[in-house]
Each structure stands twice: as structure tokens, then as C-alpha cells.
Symmetry: C3
Subunit: 643 residues, 3 copies
């Protein structure tokens, strides 16, 4: 694994660049990521390119021995470009402009902008495609950041109509598929279809799902356009893009299939603060991050990536500027996060960013250097991590134990139709992942078309659309299976299947869901130390009731190695079902103490302490560590030889 | 009373229709409600009518012995119609389009759409007006659903100006009436008046009240237009419309005066979840509904309806799709709700809907059948209810005990000017109704112009505009009277009356309100087991202080049979004042246990158990029930012969 | 000090005016404020002036012996004027119209409206400029009320571009100053700059700060235009304007420099309800107002005003209409508030308003008279206050003890970039003020350029931009100094200074902030009875740790008479640091009981009881009061001769 850093030479005087490059190397960094917001410096006037400064920067970095990851600058088109075609920006769901003045001010469907993005990509690729310092390319930056995948512009509407025409062929097929007879929503032609926003009340969920798919496809096409240009002008270099945390605006399985390496941007403290963790967790892990956040995304994006090649393109190095509250990580966390990425198989961890810029939107975002150019606390941690990374070398293949199945349309469906406030497929997956991780297991997060044969246990927490391939692979799968609520509950066009949920999975388990309830928080059916909460499926079939509440409501059903969880995968009931299946799968579970997490590779067993107190590593992980202690201080880790 | 069901033949294959009709009859249903969203199937292209399918459906249903309630399809104009006049849709208060893609996408003031609505109404009425299967008509569907009465479109603005001209005659009268000298808001002509939205800060409350009245009048006129056409082409059939729960967007007294029967749509679980009940109540009654929700609307709409003819046009049969959380009713609740409607005098209870559609917006809304065509739990309950309904026959006239006075402009006024956050005339009425119902009383909810002579007690919880007719009938009324805060506090044009509140009621009680305070929750004046909260009127006059807080603040004043409640009608202080007045009215009060409710007719006494535990019926209701037990299980009811 | 009242003769029949004037005089009032919303009555048609009624009103009031404060009517342009140039209204941040129908419906940058405002100002000034009854002028009314300083209209955009051009001279300077290289935000000319709203994600904070400065400058220029006209036509009369509570939309230091007297509008109960006090405080002081609200603004605006000449132009007399909840003040509070303004040096307290209008937006706002013309409770209190005011005469110069430094750009910066949710410079100042006031001290709130030599203690709670003048005056200042977090953390153009925070203050204290954390509520470092919360600066330098938390985190640093507070000025840690500095400053502190407050002038010591229970005045204030008792009932005050 390499370490790297994000760098903006255009922010600093040219005379500083050599010092920076030297300091990077001294800190053990091998990669530097540049260029992705520099359009206005590369082309300050239409067609007037200024390459000199960037040539110089590339040379300085290359000569210092750093491998360069070059970004295309398409996330930040300059003002003159926007002024030349003002309709290139997106409109939000309320119809308001999302104009110039920050970043990501473009609509993916605007043909004119797509041409301009191709032009600048070609210009950069031509200039540096064969430069020996360039080791890989990044397309754009964080597609979808600031909720920018969906655009409600005229350009998007026109493109959506074409996309629908291509998908459905004739309008009767669309009307039939969506059930538009309901409420007289039938169209006579594709040019009658509008975007699903600004309707008097909610639009047809099938309409929304199509729009979500379309919006995702526009991102994929925009990215493909860049990938093709880069492959032409810079053959042999890896192409990557940086995904984000808890983000499902586009289908990452699709995107990754066009990339060599999938990257992501890891901000454990910011994510803890901004996403749906409890206030108690937000306090308990305020300076570490909840212990599954980083690992979840490592495993999610490894599961998306071609050949499981993935990296961390941005690693939080200190306080950030964008969360509601922005504390500093505990001393040691930056190194711990780095080693944890390694344990999950990253190719690269690149810190964001080299030096804190004293101006503009991210002035309160820490770097490895302070704004005054002196080392910030993270620099020493990066250096420490670099030493350990070098010492450990290749970590070997991941150990396969359990798989959790996720598809992006699952989350789109639960967002479009939660049925119970806040119920989310993504978070059902996260919670299922966490339940397994608390037992010390390796968990892969895989798409529905994945090969599940290597696993002893497969969990499908909430997968409304079950492709036939998954139904088929489950039929021949011999391990344990847990299927959660809403799985198999929708056809490809957002209809309830004729045979009722779980649809095609009825071939692998004898269950039919005849009625579903969503339950307000507090409306529970208490069991023995667990409870049915938030959701309850009533079923028919021949499965046996396994977990039965005191009032007779059934939380989970089983038939041999198959379990159907009839309530939302959450809390103690999830832990109970998970541990039963784990035990029958004969996986080596360890009840981990609060904040401890384990990751196993062919060569090593890694143990990480996310808690804010000292924790002894359980005896089940035997022997003396290669690095670290058996009693781990907060924000410390240990590495053992694999047993 | 009849039972019925809502049915969408256009959703299902024609070959299924006969089966459906037979199953309806077997379940004891006599009525079927169809057609109200079928415009795109009736007229798929401008002027091209396709009657065949609907002719067939009507015949199949009629031949099965079902009486048909036919709806006009004006709530869902097809896309081609909207495209032919895009300005027919409403704009919301923020000026945003409320476009096509769901339903109710029209502005009541758009003359072009009103013509088109008349045209389609005439076409349907001509076609089926004399068909023997048609027993009644429903106009449109749920006027105002999704907050669609108020439109801020140019069409609405122009119509508002005409309406004002008609009401005020000259602009000086309007300026004077509204007090437009304040803040230089004076107009020189009606064409200078804008809609009251998008003002720099809040508009004149008189401006808002006029706009609310205008908006209501537009609904009434739209409905009248349809009623006239239906009367012309289908004489002798009843005309109805389905009102909603806790909804005050238009004046239902006005609407009902043009109808033969007023219907409403009863969703006790959805309403509990979505309206302002406490979290505790939402949990306690999650699968039953708070026990006064259904009854309140039965009595409210009976009070609106001509000759007290009313029905339930949609009855919740299971989980719905539109509340924040959507649990299933307890077994038995569907039957209980049905019998309760009977006890309150309904002509019809029609379940919504026959079969759960597996597509579009309401795919998670239960029916009597599941999506796969098999019986859902509610089908059996409907059948049971049909048996009991048949057994009981005519229930006889309601017993008159107490009346609560409500007018729609009361709620408009408290919405426009709450003065204390969340204070609402509608909810003051609901809470007063509940206080009486907990004492086992029959309560009528009546308009200010009602004949109050049959009652022993009249409660006026919050009626800012007191018409002279009410002041006059109170002067000669000999029963007990409770008058609540803000009553008589406004003139017809939203001014404080010269004589101060309670305005014209000073002729019936010697009290003048000189100062009103609104109090934040928690700011209370404690009395003996009760408290002054949320509101406190300071008064002059010769009434005697009846309920005096420990610090001397006066909660209620009395003079003979008249009481003035100087605090908000809420909680223990409301119970205390109510029970004193009930006792002096010599009404037979019963302190009902939690969740039990009673309704008396000339022939029967009905008892309903809304609680989730077993409850013994109080001894005050003596003897053996005709149906049911003296100890009621949850979701069970008993019927006694009237004593 | 004079007492006065706001009066709207145009609301009442002319035959009542004499009665009103007589009653005012009988109540001891000497001033009457009129005219500020009367444009539609002065000029009912374009160019047609109707002066008669206003001439009469002025004469009636003058003849009764009242001095008139005449307002220009520019806050309420009439409809015909708006219709003649519809683009004169502001647009809000979402791009929505802020149209006619209430007040303040104009954009400060609209040249056409500025001309019209000048025209009507000139007309009124010409008419009454030399009238002997006119003692002073008020420009417009409450600039910025209803959030009307910022406008996002085309007029504002164009004016902003000119303003930027004037400030930065060439666009490269602006790009450099703002750091626009970040995210390719560079402009090629001023006409490429947009307003900072409707950007895809947040705009550059430097962009926002410039827009806030520009928006403030537009207010100042609009006011200057009126001031110049008034000085021309009415020389020798004072010119004033009424500022608001907790309001920072424009720079009041700038505005006040063009006025003779700065007024403000004091609504202690409304402000308590609407601003960020705890629920507990909102209940505890519901009918008094939190005891520092009025005093804080008295001292803030005295610090803004030229020669410290200030007044209360609107004093709450009873319940208002605009807060979430609107209780009545305790008996006595109106008099107490009046005397407290006197104690802080007001020239005038003018009650708002004479008689409650029964119509339009403020119909629920109390006056000295009820809507029916009878005395409301406040009339008697005003009369009582008038007697005491007369008895006390001139109160003498304020005693100088401590100063708190505030600048308006401080609050703009923390609003633009809170970094931790809700952190605010204004409230840091308020809390620091309160901490000193609880010790019985006189506190001046001063701008950064103020002369600080008279004070024994200077507190700078949060002043991101530290002008060189302040750094210089601190260098020679010999008293105690407390500097709070974020002070000196930004340059004039919203950049982190090269030398890191506290920037120029490093010349007066040896400290450099190397890292700042913001902490979610609950994430605390406990000390001995205090805690570090919400913010933590990590520092370098040679200051000595003074308050150290149990875990070693440092709350405050000191070096001789200088203290650096490294956490947010809040709660017990603020009290602890404050009381240490106060003690070293040898100021006479008194630990005041709950709700008691003290104010000292050269001649008197005033004591006010804001609590709702009886309180004994501490022995430290010795002797018998001139008025009042040593044991103060709720809402009562005492005045002692100065010791
Ligand atoms: Zn290498
Ligand atoms: Zn019949
Ligand atoms: Zn005087």
C-alpha cells in the first residue's frame, strides 16, 4: 500500500513547491494528487491555455520521486464558461438555480457542458498523458457531492425523455409498467413525460425510480466519456474516481465497472456527526468515529470495484470545516485509520490535504501542514503509518467469512417509499454489517450478482428488487442465509410482484408476505431481551417461527439454513438472529468489547481500538503482536500474525 | 345502513370483474363506488370518448345487484388537457408550480379548466344519468386534499379581485373594512389588490381571511357547477362528496348545502399518526385510533349535512401508505368502526378499497383483497359487520344531549392569527367534544345558525366571529352555556369589535375581555388539580369568579347558567368546567374508563372499546347486550336496547 | 429624560385627537412620535399631496405642549408606487419576491426607489422642517426589520458589482483577496460577480462577507440621503432612527455616525421569547424579560451613538402580537423598564403605542390605551414613571468599570462560518456582558476603535477581525484584558492571518492558536466546577495555563494582566475567568441574587428586581433608598444616592 496526499500547487507560491515535495517524501508519502479544481488556472480565458505552471508543478513533484494522480478539472467549470451557456447549471427540486460560486455547478445532462468537459479532459490528457510522473488519473471529483446528481433542468427533462424512449420503446409499455392508469397519469407520448418534481402531491414511485436510474446513468455516461479520452491519451495508467460516505446518488457498481480502481473519501468524524448515529454514539466516538464507519465503506467499495482494487483518495487528517461540529481526532487516530485501510486491502491512502489553505470555503479544514506551513499533528502520524506500512508489506488476500448483499436501487426504493419514516435499505445494510463486525468477523458487502459461494453466511438485509441471478445462486448456496424485510417486494418497475414478497426468493424459502406494518418508534412487541420494532411482516408458508414475541408476534422464521427476518434489522433482534446464523455457519465469532474491531487477512490479524479507554485484546486472538500491545490504549492498534 | 366498497375496474382485467362483483355481494356489500379517477380511460385523446369498458363495468356491477356511486373524474385531468392550457395548475404559496404527475393539479379559479370539468361531467352524466345501476353521484374527489384549495396563480388573483369587487362594491369600503390605513396598505382600485402571499412580512389578517373565504367560495362554485349538471341529467339520484379528516380548507357548511348527502373518508390510524395527538396517545392507540377521531367527524359532518344525511365514503381497512408510520388495525377494529358509524347515523360505510393495487402511489394501501386477489383480513370483518348491521336494522333518531358550536372561519382566524403558537379553534372544539364524550354523552357539533333548543348544554369553545343569530338564540336559550376564549373577538372583517370581546355575546353574559395573554407551555397558574395554561383573558363585568388559581388568576367566570372560560379549553380545567356545566344541565354523565365510548340512539345504546385491554362496561349501562359482552375485549363492541 | 409615545392620528377620528393629546400630557408625556407609516395618506395618488390632516394633527399635538418626533414614511411605499416600478422590491435568498402587502417592501439598492424616497422625504421636510412643534426627526422605521437588509435582486447585484469595483479597484485584487483560485472561482471582471446566493453549495465566505458589508453600506447610504435632506430643511433638529433588539443586519456604528441620537425599540418579553434563551429562562422571566436584555441594548447602542446620545423609541407596554407566545408583563415592569433606561442614560423613553388599533397586522399589540379608548394598565405605570423621572432629574455621567468590545463584522463572520453550530459573536458578547452584570458592575459595550483607557477591565469575547488601532491601544492599556476564541482569527478579507490567530494581538500576548476544535453540546472537558464546552483552541507560546481541566485540556491561559480564553465564553468557565479578572482589576464586585441588577451613575445607584419573588438588596449597597424599599417586591426598583 502507498501513502499519498492531495496537493494544490496553485494555492502556494512556486518557490515553496520544492520544499513541499521534499517534506512529502520525508514523511514517507509516495503519491500526490493534483489538478482537480484548477480549470480557471489552466484556461483563464476561453481557449487560452496556461500550462507552464502545471508543467512546472508536475516536474517538481515527479523529480522529488512522487507518483502523480492527475485529476480532470470538470467539477469546477470557470465563470466564463457558465456565462457562455447559463443553462448548463442544474435546477434543484424546487426549480431553483444551482449557480456559479462554489463547485459542481453543472447539469450532467447538458450536452454543451459535456462537450466542454470532453474538450478540457482531452487537453489535460494530451498534455500529461505520457508524462512519466503521472501514475494514474482521477475523473472529476466526488460526483454527486452537495446532492448534485439529480437536476430538474430542461436539459435533464429532455434527456430523461430520450432515456425513457430507449428503455421502454413505446409509451404504452411505460404506462403499463408504471401503472399510470392510476390517477389518469397515462401519457400519449414520451414528450408528455415531465420530471417527477413539482407535482401537486407525490409522483408515481415508478416515475421517481426511473428518474433515479436515469440520473445515475447520466453520471456513468459523463464519466465514461472522460475515461475513453484518458485511455486514448494515457494508455496503461489506472483511472479512478473518489466516491463518498453514506452516499447513494448514483450506482457505484456501474461506475466502478468503467474504472480500474475505485477510490473513496474517508472522514470518520464528519460522517459520525452528520449521519444517523445516536446522540450517545456521537458523543462516545466524537474524536474517533463510530468504529464501523470507515470499515463499512472499505468493504462496500471493495465490493463495487473491479478486481477489488480500491483506495482511500482522501483521508481526514484533523478537524474539518463541514460538519455541524468539528472536533479533532484523538492522537493516533490518523495512523489507526491508515492501518485499518491497509487491513481491508487498500492500494493507497491519500491524506486530504497537504497544507491548510487560509482562504475560501475550506479554510477551517486541517491538513498535514498548518496554514503557516509548519507541521500539523497529522504529519507525524502519517510518517509513523508509513513506517508500519513498509514493515508489514503485502497483507495478503482477505479472509472470506460473511457477505452482506446491497444494491443501489434498494436505497433508492426505500428513499422514494420509506413507508415508515426513516427506514432505509442502506442503513439496514450498515446495521447488519455492524452486527457481524461486533462478532469479530470479516464481512464483504457484495452486489446481488456476486459469487456468494466463498461465504459461510449471506445476509440480505433489505433488497426490494431481487434479480433472478441472486435467486438462482441462493438456490444452490449451502451456507446460512438471512433475508430481511422488503426483500423481493418489488419488480424492476416498482410494482409489488404478482406472487407477493419476497418474490423470486420464494424459490429458496417457503414464505409469502401477506401484509406489512410499519411501526412508530416505541411501538414494540417485546421478546426475550429483544423486540420487534419499526416493521412487522405477516407471512404465510411453512417456515417455522423462531423468535416469537410475548404477544405471539413472530420476529423471525426459519427453514433449515434459511431465515426470514420479519422485522426491521435493528438492535437486539438483529444481534440475536445474526448470532444464531453465525453459530450455525460455524464461523469463529468473538464477542468484542466496546470499540474494538478485528480484521483478518491471509497474513495478519489486525485489532483496532476505537474506544476512548484502554481495552485488553480477547484471548481468542492469541500470542504476541508483531506491532502494538495486547492491551490497547485509545486510538491504538495491534497486528498479529494470522493464525 | 348500507355497506359498500370503492372499486377501480380499470385497474384489473375485465375477466376478473364478475368474480369481484360476486365476492362483494357475498361479503354483504350493497354499494360500489367507481369512476372518480378514470378520465384518461374515458377520454384518452381530446374528444375521443371510450365508453365501452365503463358501460361493461357498470353492467357487471349492476347485474350483480350492487348499487353504483359514480364519481366525476375531475380530480385527475389527463396530461393532454394540462398541456393544452399549462396555466390551469395551481401555484403554491411560494409561487411554485403544482404540476401534473399525481392528482388535484388544477386551480379552482381557472375558467378554462372549469369549462373542461363541466364538459366531462356532462359527458359522464349524459351517459349514465338514467342507468338503473346508478344510485348516486359523487362530485370530484376530496376537494382540498394535498392542500389544494388555495392557489396563488394569476387566475386566482384575477378571480380574487372580482370576488372582492362583488363583496365590497367600492375600494374605499375595502380599505376601511381591512384597516388598510395601517402601514399605507390602501388600494386605489380592486386591480391593485394582490394575493396575500410573498409579502415582505405577514399580510393584513383581513386580507388573508378574505382570501380564505374566496378560496372556499371557489370550491363551492366548482362543485355547484357539477351538481347542476348532474341534477339535469340524473334527476332523483343523491349527490355526495367525500370530505376529509381534520380538514378546514373550505367551508363544509356551504358545500353541504348543495349536496344531498355529505360523505367523509375515515382513516383513524392515519389521522392519529399525522395530527396533533401526543406521542403517548399515538402509541397507546396506534392500532385503534384515538377513540374520538371517527366519532368527532361523524358528528361534525352530520351537523354540516342537509337533513343530517351523511355517510362514510372511505373506511380504512388495514395499513395505509400515507402516514409517517402505518401499522395495521387490531383485529376487530374494522368492524367496530363500521358499527360506530351506524351508531352515529351513517347511511353508508364504504371501504376503501376493494383490492390493493400493486402499482403507483397507493400500492402500500390495504384493501379488502390483497394484491394477489385473495381476501385480506378486512374482508371477514366487513362480512361480520354486514350481518350485525342487518340484524340491528334502523337505529332510530340520535339522542340530543350537548351541542358544541363550530364554524369554519373560526379555524381560519386562528390559523391566520394564532397569537399563541399552535392555538386552534378546531382543536379547541375537538378537545371540548372529547371532554363531553369521556362523560358518556352524545354530542352534536353544530354551526352557529343551528337550532340549539334541543340541547341541555351548549359549548362554544372558540368562535371569534359570532353571528347575530347565535347571540339571539343564546339570549332565549335556557340550558347551560360555556363560552371559551377568543369567542366574539372579531368582526366579520377581522377587527376587534368596538365593544371588545366577546362582542355580541355581551348581551347574554356580563363580561368584557380587556386584555388577553398567550402563555408558553409550562407557564401555568395552578389551581386545585387543574391549571390555567396557554391563554388567559382578563375581564371586566359582573360575572362571579368560579375557578380561581392559587395566585388569584381566574380560569372561569359564571353568571347563572352562563360560564366564560378565560383560559384555553384544554386538559383538567376543561374537564372541571365541563363537568360542572354537565351536572347543572342534569345530563346523565358516566365517567368512562380509558378507551371506552358510548353512543345512544332512540333504539340502542352502543358501547365501543378502543383500548388495548379488556374493559368492563359500567353499571350505569344496565342489562344484557343484544350483541357483544358486558366485558369487552380490545376492539370489541356491545349493543344494548335503549333504556 | 423625557417620556413620549408613538401615535397614529390617521388611525382615529380627528375629533378624538384633542382628547388624546390632553391625556398624553396628563400622563406626563412630553414627546409624541408620528408619521412614519403615513405615505398613502400624505400622497394618495402620485404627486397629489394631502397635508391638511397632518397639519391639523401636528398643530393639535403642538398646542397641547407635546414635542413632535416626525418620521419619514419610506418604510411603507404605497401600492401605486410599487406598481409603477415593480422591480423596486427585494428578492429573498431563494429568489422569491418580497412584495407589497405589509411593509419594508423595497430594495435598498434600487435607484428609482431611492429617488422616490428622497422626494417624499423632501416633501415632508419642506412642509414641517421649521414647524415649532417638531423637535426631531426619525428616518424611515427599523431598517432591516423582517430581515430586509439583504436583497438578492438584479438591482442589488448591479450595485454590488459597482461597490466591489470601488473597493478592490481591479478584479485581480479581488480574486487574490478572496482566494478565488480555490475551486476555480476566479472572475475576469466585476461584471462576472454574482450575488452569493443560489450557489450549488456554500459560496466563498469572503464573498458573503463582502455582500454583508455592501448590504450594510446600502442602508447607511439610504439613511445618509434622508439625513442630508432633513438637515437642509430642518436645521438644528436632532435626527434619529430606531434600531432593534439582537439585530446585526447593518453596522450600527456606521449608521449612528450620521445621526444625532440613536434610538432603539425595547420589547423585553418578545425578545426573551424569540431569541436564544433556554426554556427555563423563558419560563422564569416570562413576564419580566431576562434581566440583561434591556440593559444590554441600552449599553450597546449608547456605545454606538455619537456622544453617547441615545433613547428608547419604542417601549413595550403590554402583550405584543409578534412573539411565539405573548404574555403580559408583571404589574410594575413598564415603570421598571422606564427607570432602567434612565439609569443607563436614555434621553427619551417613548412607549409604543398610544392606543391599540383594532385592525390590521398589529391588532393584538397593546398600547397605553385599550382599543376602546379606555386606559390600559401601562398608562398608570407611565404616569408613575413620569413622576419619578421628574423627581430624580439629571442622573449624571455613567460610572466606567468594564468594557466589552463588539464589532458588527464579528457577528457577520460567525454567521457566515459558525464552524460549530450556533456559535455566535453577538451571543458571546451578550454572555460576557451578563457575566459582568451578575457581579453588579457597569459595563460599556464599545467598538474596537473606542478609547479603552477609562476602564479597569476590557473583555474581547469574539472579535475575528482585530483592527490595528485596537491592537495598538491594548499595547498601552494597563488594565486587565480577557481575549476570547476566534479573536484575531481573520483578516479584513476573511482569511486566516499569516501569523495565525489571534493575529495582531500577538503583540500584546504571547499566544498562537495552532488548531481549533468545535465540540457538540455534551462533549466537555470537566474542570473544577466548570467545563470546556463548544470550542477548544490549542495554542503555542509562553502564556501560563490558568484553568486546566482534569484531562489536561487548558481552558484559559494568562500572562500578567492578559488572559486568553481558549474555550467558548459560556457558563461557569466564563464566570470563573471573569471573576478572576474582575478581582485583579480591583473592581467592586457584588454577587447579586437571582434577578437583581444594579446600575451606577455619578448621582445614583439604581437597583432593579427582575425576579418573580421578593429580594433583599445586598448590604454592599448601603443606606436608605431615595425611592423604593431595601426589600424589593417583584418588578420593583430602588434608587440610592451614589456612594
Ligand atoms: Zn511504489
Ligand atoms: Zn338497500
Ligand atoms: Zn423638556
Amino acid at each position: 500500500m502507498h501513502l499519498g496526499v492531495c496537493y494544490y500547487p496553485e494555492h502556494w507560491p512556486q518557490e515553496r513547491w520544492k520544499t513541499d515535495a521534499r517534506m512529502m517524501r520525508e514523511a514517507g508519502l509516495a503519491r500526490v494528487r493534483i489538478g482537480e479544481f484548477a480549470w480557471s488556472r489552466i484556461e483563464s480565458e476561453p481557449g487560452r491555455y496556461d500550462w507552464q505552471w502545471l508543467d512546472d508543478a508536475v516536474d517538481v513533484l515527479h523529480e522529488a520521486g512522487l507518483g502523480i494522480i492527475m485529476g480532470t478539472p470538470t467539477a469546477t467549470p470557470p465563470k466564463w464558461l457558465v456565462d457562455s451557456m447559463p443553462d448548463m447549471v442544474a435546477l434543484d427540486r424546487q426549480g431553483r438555480l444551482r449557480g456559479f460560486g462554489s463547485r459542481r455547478h453543472y447539469c450532467f445532462s447538458h450536452a454543451g457542458y459535456r462537450e466542454q468537459a470532453a474538450r478540457i479532459t482531452r487537453a489535460v490528457a494530451e498534455r500529461y498523458g505520457e508524462h512519466p510522473g503521472i501514475v494514474s488519473w482521477q475523473t472529476d471529483n466526488e460526483y454527486g457531492c452537495h446532492d448534485t446528481v439529480q437536476s430538474f433542468s430542461p436539459a435533464a427533462r429532455d434527456a430523461f425523455r430520450l432515456w425513457l424512449n430507449e428503455r421502454y420503446g413505446d409509451i404504452t409499455a411505460l404506462n403499463e409498467a408504471w401503472g399510470n392508469v392510476f390517477w389518469s397519469m397515462e401519457y400519449r407520448g414520451f414528450d408528455e413525460v415531465e420530471l417527477p418534481n413539482l407535482t401537486a402531491t407525490e409522483a408515481n414511485p415508478a416515475h421517481w425510480l426511473a428518474f433515479r436510474r436515469f440520473s445515475s446513468d447520466q453520471v456513468i455516461a459523463f464519466n465514461q466519456m472522460q475515461v475513453e479520452i484518458l485511455r486514448e491519451f494515457s494508455p496503461g495508467r489506472d483511472i479512478t474516481h473518489n466516491a463518498m460516505g453514506f452516499y447513494t446518488g448514483y450506482d457505484h457498481h456501474d461506475l466502478a465497472s468503467d474504472l480500474d480502481v475505485l477510490g473513496w473519501d474517508s472522514y470518520p468524524l464528519g460522517f459520525l456527526e452528520m449521519f444517523r448515529f445516536s446522540d450517545q454514539e456521537k458523543l462516545h466516538f466524537a474524536r474517533q468515529g463510530q468504529p464501523d464507519i470507515a470499515a463499512f465503506h472499505h468493504d462496500l467499495y471493495r465490493g463495487c470495484a473491479k478486481d477489488e482494487r480500491w483506495s482511500v483518495l482522501e483521508q481526514q487528517p484533523g478537524p474539518v470545516n463541514w460538519a455541524r461540529h468539528n472536533p479533532a481526532p484523538l492522537d493516533g487516530m490518523v495512523a489507526l485509520w491508515t492501518l485499518e485501510a491497509m487491513a481491508h486491502g487498500a492500494e493507497l491512502v491519500s491524506y486530504f490535504r497537504w497544507r491548510q489553505a487560509p482562504f475560501a470555503q475550506e479554510q477551517m479544514h486541517a491538513g498535514l501542514l498548518r496554514p503557516d506551513g509548519e507541521p500539523a499533528p497529522a504529519l507525524g502520524e502519517a510518517q509513523h503509518a508509513a513506517d508500519i506500512v513498509a514493515q508489514l508489506g503485502n497483507v495478503g488476500q482477505p479472509v472470506r467469512q460473511a457477505a452482506v448483499v446491497f444494491s443501489y436501487d434498494s436505497e433508492w426504493i426505500t428513499q422514494i417509499q420509506p413507508q415508515g419514516e426513516g427506514l432505509s435499505a442502506l442503513w439496514a445494510v450498515f446495521d447488519s454489517y455492524r452486527a457481524l463486525r461486533k462478532l469479530g468477523l470479516n464481512v464483504d458487502i457484495v452486489p446481488p450478482h456476486a459469487d456468494i459461494s466463498p461465504y459461510a453466511l449471506v445476509v440480505i438485509p433489505c433488497l426490494p428488487i431481487v434479480p433472478e441471478t441472486l435467486a438462482a445462486s441462493l438456490e444452490s448456496f449451502e451456507g446460512q442465509v438471512i433475508v430481511g424485510p422488503r426483500t423481493g417486494s418489488r419488480t424492476i418497475d416498482f410494482r409489488i410482484p404478482d406472487e407477493l414478497p419476497p418474490g423470486p426468493l420464494q424459490s429458496t424459502m417457503p414464505v409469502k408476505v401477506t401484509r406489512s406494518e410499519s411501526l412508530r418508534p416505541g411501538l414494540e412487541h417485546a421478546g426475550d431481551g429483544w423486540a420487534i420494532a419499526r416493521w412487522l411482516d405477516h407471512v404465510e408458508g411453512t417456515m417455522e417461527a423462531e423468535l416469537v414475541a410475548k404477544d405471539g408476534a413472530v420476529a423471525s422464521w426459519r427453514a433449515g439454513s434459511r431465515r426470514y427476518l420479519a422485522t426491521w434489522p435493528l438492535g437486539a433482534v438483529l444481534d440475536e438472529v445474526t448470532s444464531r446464523a453465525v453459530s450455525e455457519a460455524e464461523l469463529r465469532a468473538i464477542e468484542l468489547p466496546d470499540g474494538l474491531r478485528v480484521r483478518r487477512t491471509a497474513k495478519y490479524t489486525f485489532v483496532f481500538n476505537y474506544s476512548s479507554h484502554k481495552v485488553a485484546i480477547p484471548e481468542a486472538i492469541a500470542g504476541a503482536p508483531i506491532t502494538g500491545l495486547r492491551e490497547l490504549a485509545p486510538a491504538r492498534y495491534a497486528v498479529f500474525a494470522a493464525d
